[in-house]
Symmetry: C2
Subunit: 122 residues, 2 copies
């Protein structure tokens, strides 16, 4: 059973964390074939943490988890912090295959979305 | 003449600011019909500032500028800081029509991109 764990930064502003919850529900609707479990977690500030999110996926029966960084640039969080948290959880769950997907900002389609948004304001 | 000004947060990490420059070039390639000028600016830390970016668009002949917030959540930066900077520049350039487009994270297509990225790691 494959799980998808969307990882966002986490905010002091609850409405921002709510956006992640809503987005995760939309993701679950879009990806029912590949991922039977879709959860979210936060790197900092908000909960659940990455460790908690991964444990939750495992508790629901995940044998493989794809961690998806919801970040726009390849800074320290994407390059170091998320892989480190994942590595720690991997030790806790040696039988589960945990991989990190490319971060959102790396997707080429972002520029198409930006063009669409900019036309809305014309 | 319409201009598009992509506004990112700005980072101490030069590589992150470089990503914005590269993305702006891609945007220019994608939007040549609607926007004859495509520039970028940063809200904080890096340069050019929003005021500088808008002045640059005006100096190149823009009669209308669409400001596009490259942000994932509707926090203080999107809700308050960017509109305030735009308002100040609008006073400096009363003959130019400056509008703010919806922020990146508000686009529904984001979830499709996330699903595509997550499949790359399967």
């Amino acid at each position: 059973m494959n799980a998808l764990l969307l990882v966002a930064h986490g905010s002091r502003r609850q409405a921002s964390n709510e956006e992640i919850r809503t987005l995760t529900e939309r993701l679950a609707d879009h990806s029912d074939h590949e991922f039977s479990i879709v959860e979210y977690a936060f790197l900092e500030i908000a909960e659940p943490s990455i460790a908690e999110g991964l444990s939750s996926c495992v508790a629901k029966g995940a044998k493989a988890v794809t961690v998806l960084p919801y970040f726009l640039s390849a800074g320290r969080h994407v390059a170091t912090d998320i892989p480190e948290e994942v590595q720690k959880s991997q030790i806790q769950h040696p039988d589960v295959k945990i991989k990190v997907a490319p971060y959102l900002g790396s997707a080429e389609e972002i520029s198409n979305i930006l063009v669409s948004l900019s036309k809305l304001a014309l």
